[in-house]
């Protein structure tokens, strides 16, 4: 039981760390604000949630201590991080930050013009 939980916890922590690394590589390499924001808000959120789940399972299964604050933190990050990404993207769009030069479609522009 302890060995299985240790493997699971190790996997979750490692997955979270690797996802965070992938997300930061995405921020460095992607061309414009929207794609970078996509990488930052999605991969980093899952990375942080994985690490927190690993921490929760570590304290629950090995130390025998249920920490509800970590669960609340998971719910909180899961709710708020996408909203933060949405708001940053929206603010960038409304201040006329250009899209990547190879973008083919901008439907929001037409919708804004029609209003």
């Amino acid at each position: 039981m302890i060995v299985i939980s240790k493997i699971l916890i190790g996997y979750l922590i490692l997955q979270g760390a690797i996802l965070s690394l992938i997300s930061s590589i995405g921020i460095l390499r992607l061309p414009d604000v929207y794609t970078r924001n996509h990488a930052a808000s999605k991969a980093a959120t899952l990375g942080v949630i994985s690490i927190m789940l690993g921490v929760f399972l570590y304290f629950w299964l090995i130390e025998g201590h249920v920490n509800t604050q970590v669960l609340l933190g998971i719910v909180f990050v899961f709710l708020t991080a996408p909203v933060a990404g949405h708001l940053i993207s929206r603010a960038a769009y409304h201040t006329n930050t250009p899209l990547w030069k190879n973008s083919v479609q901008d439907e929001l522009k037409q919708a804004k013009k029609g209003k």
Partner: protein
């Protein structure tokens, strides 16, 4: 902080604020009550409660938040200082030095055997002062044109 009467469609922010404010409030109350035996206390609890109110101010305008929470924050600061001083003065009744705190075990109806300390009342004063001062600063800055 949004100006009153400006039309924007912040439906995602406002919907998520309605849920998240309760989580922040509950966590700040937890921090306030956990302060005796765990990290937390009046100061960080008060800062977190005021951050929940600031989130409301960001998602809605000043007028709406004033309607939701009709609190005079300067009075709140005064009440907090009064409570903090009275916990100190109250120790004179028992003939002990100023700000002497004590605790005891009580049997409460639902919670069972609970340790109640008078230091919590002092912390309540700190909590109210921190909320009052933070919200006064933020509202004063936010309302100036």
């Amino acid at each position: 902080m949004k100006k009153a009467g400006r039309k924007t469609n912040d439906i995602i922010l406002q919907t998520i604020t309605k849920i998240v404010v309760f989580i922040i409030m509950i966590f700040s109350l937890y921090l306030f009550f956990a302060g005796h035996n765990a990290p937390g206390g009046g100061f960080i609890g008060g800062l977190m409660t005021s951050s929940a109110i600031v989130l409301l101010l960001i998602a809605y305008d000043v007028k709406t938040v004033k309607k939701i929470l009709p609190v005079n924050y300067i009075m709140m600061t005064a009440v907090g200082l009064f409570i903090a001083v009275m916990t100190g003065v109250g120790s004179f009744i028992f003939g002990v030095p100023f700000l002497t705190h004590t605790f005891g075990h009580f049997h409460l109806p639902v919670l069972g055997d609970t340790e109640l300390a008078t230091a919590v009342l002092f912390d309540l004063g700190v909590y109210l002062v921190v909320i009052g001062v933070t919200m006064t600063i933020i509202q004063t800055i936010g309302e100036t044109e």
